[in-house]
């Protein structure tokens, strides 16, 4: 591409360029002035040699003519040299058409070729300076990606417009070239600014702490740009009257594209700002965003397409390089258009399916799951309910279903084509293929059998046989076989698993075994925390232990960690992160292999998950004391608990948050270092106090590690 080549050219710095432009402009003005003066006073005057002193006088008197304020003293001297050489070599003997000085001056300025070029150069220089000014006022330092975009856009623009001017329009005279170039310069300049605004808007929307003034400035610029594109459209109309409809169409298409883009950015911006100003969830936000995007993309694609088609047909340029380029562009635009339409169809279908199949959750459902949407973590006032019982915001669910066809929480497939369950199928294709009946059948079948891709696990050991995995969903079609497995094999399998995990509830293991029908896979599931024991049983038992051991510490968490308690209640179900973090601790303490991530486990039957749902909040609060009851257990050596205590506050101010984060990071590193040094200086011998504290949990750990080792060994043997 030309951009690559041009990037390597040693472009002068802005300062040099401006200085040079000023020098050229000044000299051309001087030259003109001189021509006019000499022409007016005595056309026949032969003495064209001007002394340097005169010139210097003239140049100082001329300074008022020069538009740039940054003209410097030494410039005048240089002018003189340039002028001198020019003036001497070129004796002036032209006749001037006008009587007065100003008109003559302009006439000379615009007829002498090199003067015209200097002026053009000056205009570009001014334009660049204007661009720089806007950048300094509104954007500040450009980011790397913005610069890159600008560069790409710029060279792209130059390339296509070059083809347009010389390939399509096939301009002949210099005037035409100058006019077109002037037009495209304006247009390109505005295009680049809009692009910059768009990039910057996207960047600003990544940060919650952007000051209002930044938004205001950017929006102001966007409005100005919109005004500019309207003005350009006016220019188009004027040109259309003069040069005819074709020219008007060419020019107007570009204007419309520019205007559309500006309006689109403004609309997106307003939506974003409105969304930020709202405290609650704006349910319809994504609909607006989607449709504004759709309308913008489709309209600009069609305008662009029409524009190119017009060029191709009008220009009589078949069988030329230009037509080739335009055809390529047309093809690209066509495919883009098609892709967009396809995506929209998919979107429509998803929406339709969703509305048909997943009813809005009732008020009871919402209250029962007093909870946030697991996708956006915002509270739900209205939600859709999936067949598996999980609730999501309408818009969140839709945007997920556009790319996938399973429940985000439990992974239950929502697609109807069971044979099509190959997860490697095209995302959008798969998403489009949702249908009512089969998913409901799947929902009904969900209790006893499986319709997961879960059996892909089997192909772990034969990963070079990818098609192996597809059909294990047949279980529901073969009830007899299913029954047989349940009665005869399942028990022995259960026993095998329970030998390894005596504390794991047998019902959960059974459920998983029914799905996996393999001892190994189930054990893997347990080890990899994909399986969730029904926690309440263990927790209840554990709680009794706790009350027995600590009868005098009623609710320490209420004074010590009000925040965490709040967090826990905030997220009682699947996404109960508050519990996640405590679960491992509880696991080691209470002698069973609990799961760190309840979510993954939810691929079990509904019963388990709803059980956990309802009982969770209270249980997890009870868990908190575990953490607090043994704060000094790790002593000076293992200091993570102290770090944890540091994370108690979430500041409102961004800078404070950042410095706190930095502090916490440093503290963690510092502690890790100290711990490392302590351990290594004592040659592995822990302090007596901490060693004693570790004793109880060490047993569990050793046991757990043994189990893990066994499992790893087994896997190795298998593969």
């Amino acid at each position: 591409m030309p951009a690559v080549l041009l990037e390597r050219l040693p472009l002068p710095s802005l300062q040099t360029y401006v200085t040079l432009s000023v020098i050229f402009l000044a000299s051309s003005l001087l030259y003109t002035h001189h021509t006019v003066i000499t022409g007016q006073t005595a056309v026949t005057l032969q003495d064209a040699v001007v002394t340097t002193t005169q010139i210097e006088e003239q140049s100082s008197s001329l300074r008022g003519w020069i538009p740039e304020p940054e003209i410097k003293e030494p410039v005048a001297g240089e002018d003189a040299d340039i002028y001198e050489s020019l003036g001497i070599q070129e004796p002036i003997n032209m006749t001037l058409p006008y009587d007065n000085y100003q008109e003559n001056f302009l006439w000379v300025l615009f007829t002498e070729a090199w003067c015209v070029w200097t002026i053009v150069n000056t205009v570009y220089c001014l334009l660049i300076l204007l661009g720089k000014l806007i950048q300094a006022l509104i954007f500040g330092e450009l980011r790397v990606s913005e610069q890159q975009h600008l560069k790409d856009k710029f060279w792209n623009f130059v390339f296509y417009k070059f083809i347009f001017i010389f390939g399509v329009m096939n301009v002949q005279t210099m005037e035409e070239v100058v006019l077109w170039v002037a037009w495209f310069t304006c247009l390109g300049f505005l295009h680049l600014l809009v692009q910059l605004c768009k990039d910057r808007f996207e960047y600003l929307s990544f940060s919650p702490t952007t000051p209002r003034s930044a938004h205001a400035k950017l929006l102001g610029l966007l409005l100005v740009l919109m005004g500019c594109s309207a003005t350009l459209l006016g220019v188009c109309v004027a040109a259309g009257f003069k040069f005819g409809l074709t020219i008007f169409a060419f020019m107007a298409a570009e204007c419309v594209l520019l205007g559309l883009k500006t309006v689109y950015v403004i609309v997106r911006y307003l939506i974003h700002l409105w969304d930020l100003s709202l405290e609650s969830v704006w349910e319809n936000r994504s609909v607006y965003v989607y449709y504004s995007e759709l309308i913008f993309e489709l309209s600009s694609l069609s305008v662009d397409f029409g524009h190119h088609l017009h060029m191709l047909l009008w220009g009589n340029i078949f069988l030329s390089m230009a037509s080739l380029v335009i055809c390529m562009q047309l093809r690209y635009l066509f495919y883009e258009f098609q892709r967009r339409i396809k995506r929209h169809k998919n979107y429509r279908q998803v929406v339709k399916n969703m509305q048909a199949r997943f009813p809005m959750a009732t008020q009871e459902d919402l209250e029962l799951n007093a909870d946030e949407c697991a996708i956006c973590w915002e509270s739900m006032e209205a939600a859709r309910k999936l067949p598996c019982g999980h609730l999501f915001h309408n818009s969140c669910l839709r945007s997920w279903l556009e790319q996938d066809t399973s429940c985000p929480t439990c992974r239950m497939t929502l697609s109807e084509r069971t044979g099509d369950q190959n997860p490697r199928a095209d995302r959008t294709e798969a998403a489009g293929a949702t249908n009512v009946n089969l998913a409901e059948a799947a929902a009904a079948a969900n209790q006893g059998t499986t319709n997961h891709f879960f059996h892909f696990d089997g192909s772990r050991y034969v990963s070079w046989l990818p098609s192996f995995s597809v059909e294990v969903t047949h279980t529901s079609l073969m009830p007899g076989q299913q029954l047989r497995i349940q009665t005869s094999q399942l028990d022995s399998m259960l026993r095998q698993v329970q030998m390894m995990f005596p504390n794991f509830p047998s019902q959960v293991i059974l459920d998983d075994l029914r799905q996996t029908r393999s001892v190994e896979v189930t054990i893997d599931n347990i080890l990899e925390n994909r399986l969730q024991p029904s926690r309440t049983i263990d927790l209840a038992a554990y709680r009794e232990d706790y009350w027995e051991n600590n009868p005098n510490s009623p609710h320490p968490q209420q004074q010590q960690e009000p925040q965490s308690q709040q967090e826990v209640t905030r997220l009682p179900t699947e996404a109960s992160h508050g519990t996640d973090q405590m679960a491992p601790q509880a696991a080691t303490d209470s002698n069973n292999f609990e799961v760190r991530e309840p979510t993954e486990g939810s691929q079990l039957s509904d019963a388990v998950s709803s059980f956990t749902t309802t009982s969770q909040p209270f249980q997890s609060q009870q868990l908190v004391p575990v953490e607090e009851a043994s704060p000094s257990r790790d002593g000076a050596v293992g200091g993570e608990h102290q770090i944890q205590a540091q994370g108690g506050r979430f500041s409102k101010s961004a800078s404070e948050r950042m410095s706190m984060l930095e502090q916490r990071k440093n503290a963690l590193l510092e502690q890790a270092r100290r711990r490392y040094l302590a351990r290594h200086s004592e040659a592995g011998g822990d302090g007596p106090s901490s060693a004693a504290g570790h004793q109880s949990s060490d047993d569990d750990r050793v046991r757990r590690r043994e189990v893990v080792l066994q499992a790893t060994q087994r896997r190795l043997n298998n593969s």
């Binding site: 969304d275 936000r285 399973s406 991530e597 994370g647 979430f650 950042m658």
Partner: protein
């Protein structure tokens, strides 16, 4: 898109600050850009990487949480599931559509109910128990399988290095 992603990331950040999991600190590198995070992960206790503090960078897409973030360790880490350039290869970070290794179940993969915290916890457990079936770093996987002793040495050196000692 970015608006809802931003809100969600903010919520996650808040949660990770108020209730940080053991040995994990994560937050935006610079609040001007909430889509670039840095996380410090402490090697889990009683494992090969015990005591090390490993910095990683998380890059979120603008449609987060619909698409998973990318995660890359910015320190050297010799581990079967970490590419030599630091990228982390765990199933939770793979979008449901793509399956680079060809065997993951979709149940193990990304879904919007996952979170930064879960990713980091998965990484911690990955550090604790390398999975040499889906080797991202073949050398490391081979060492892990065949020459555990040397692997341990390397891990020890990594831990030391990560602490800047």
């Amino acid at each position: 898109m970015a608006g809802s992603a931003l809100k969600r990331l903010m919520a996650e950040y808040k949660q990770l600050t108020l209730n940080p999991p053991e040995g994990i600190i994560a937050g935006p590198i610079n609040e001007d850009n909430f889509f670039e995070w840095e996380a410090l992960i402490m090697g889990p206790k009683d494992t090969l990487f015990d005591g090390g503090v490993f910095p990683a960078r998380l890059t979120f897409p603008s449609d987060y949480p619909l698409s998973p973030p990318k995660m890359r360790f910015t320190c050297e880490l010799f581990h079967p599931n970490i590419y030599p350039d630091g990228r982390v290869c765990i199933s939770i970070l793979h979008a449901p559509g793509d399956d680079p290794m060809g065997y993951e179940t979709s149940a193990e993969r990304w879904s919007p109910v996952q979170s930064v915290e879960k990713i980091l916890l998965s990484v911690v457990s990955m550090l604790a128990e390398p999975n040499d079936e889906s080797a991202a770093n073949v050398d490391a996987a081979k060492k892990w399988r065949e020459d555990r002793k040397q692997f341990e040495e390397i891990a020890k050196a990594t831990v030391r290095k990560s602490l800047g000692l």
